[in-house]
Amino acid sequence: MSVYTQTLDMWPQRGAVQALLLGPSQSMDGKVPSTTAEEFSLLLFLDARMLTSIFPVLLAVNKAITAEEDGRLRTNNLATEILFNLSPTTNINESLAKYGVKTDPHPILALHIGPPMDDNEGSLRASPLLSVEKDLGKDVDVAALCKYFKLDPSKDAHDIQDLERMIIATMALKGVSAK
């Protein structure tokens, strides 16, 4: 399975965003992987049940990198800023709890931000993986997302695209206020 790679148009000097989707059988058996941040490279694990597609993640990454470049990070580092950007609230702990990896078996989205890695690099690719573009969003927990984003599942979430549009717009307007 090929790695999903996307270069951010605004920040090409920051390398690329690479994503791998691990199925529940490749989960961490109760061991939560730690997030490691190097100078220009970052590895992050997200609960794939809270993601409708890769697009909201890319928006969150782009927003986080922009905040870092502008010196306006609202959390401690880029990894937590990405998780924070994905959530509708300004509660950092809650965002980490919702989007971070849990101990029960579930699909995980592994995200690498930095210089693109070769196919031979990294141990995660040794196991069979799911397709980010086709499979991410299949296991989405609609009820949990609707509750978290305060959406009405009968009205706002007719299909996954509608739900995603609401989520993205809510993410975009979070913490935005006129000066």
Binding site: N62, R72, M166, I168, A169, A172, V176, A178, K179
Partner: protein
């Protein structure tokens, strides 16, 4: 392209003729207001582009790109297409006569505006250029396309029938000045508007009569 998808970046520039403090305040307020109205429209099921990111540092809104002609171009093309007989060569099954096209179009515009006003959103600059017909540019002109309302830069929230009536009046003026002979189409829009929200539409359309008599601006005398 933005994060791999076609996007529109709407940047607000500094107006040098305004005092810098006032300019900063107005620009950021309008930017935020536009973003909030787009989200409110989305929640009210009004067809608008999805807002992706509000970059306050660069005064830029990033949103979904809607491909397709504006309603202005669409109406013009459909009129010209029909008159020149080009549409006879297109697929008869998928095409509509001008009458049924107008009915469908009026229905869609009226419904969208009614939903928008029902959510107390005032567009502020309703013209046929600010309504897009989403679809391939190569689509036959007589096929009805989904409509999307854009540019909420002058929009605001109001519960007053007066503001909603002025919104409709601005659209009416735009229709009559840009597309002569569309009186029936606009009447169809008002009928569809009335059908979606009968209770509130009554007050708005009653007020529209007054606005037509005096114009968009209210008299401040007395």
């Amino acid at each position: 392209m933005f994060c791999g998808r076609p996007a529109i970046a709407k940047q607000r520039f500094n107006k040098t003729y305004r005092h810098p403090d006032l300019d900063k305040k107005l620009t950021s307020r309008r930017l935020v207001q536009e973003g909030r109205l787009l989200l409110k429209c989305l929640k009210a099921n009004v067809p608008v582009p999805t807002i992706w990111w509000v970059d306050m540092a660069r005064l830029t809104l990033y949103m979904e790109r809607i491909d397709g002609p504006s309603l202005r171009d669409y109406l013009f093309a459909s009129t010209v297409g029909w008159l020149s007989g080009q549409s006879h060569t297109q697929e008869r099954s998928s095409s509509l006569s001008p009458m049924s096209l107008d009915d469908g179009l009026a229905q869609k515009v009226g419904e969208s505006l009614a939903k928008m006003h029902d959510a107390n959103i005032i567009h502020g600059d309703l013209t046929t250029s600010n309504i897009l017909c989403q679809g391939e540019s190569s689509s036959p002109v007589r096929v009805l396309l989904p409509l999307v309302i854009i540019d909420f830069g002058l929009g605001y929230i109001s519960t007053l029938p007066e503001d909603k009536a002025v919104d409709l009046y601005v659209l009416e003026r735009a229709f009559f000045s840009t597309h002569p002979g569309t009186e029936d189409l606009f009447q169809g829009i008002l009928q569809a508007y009335r059908k979606v929200t009968p209770a509130s539409a009554k007050a708005v359309l009653h007020r529209l009569e007054d606005v037509r008599l005096r114009g968009r601006k209210r008299s401040m005398v007395g």
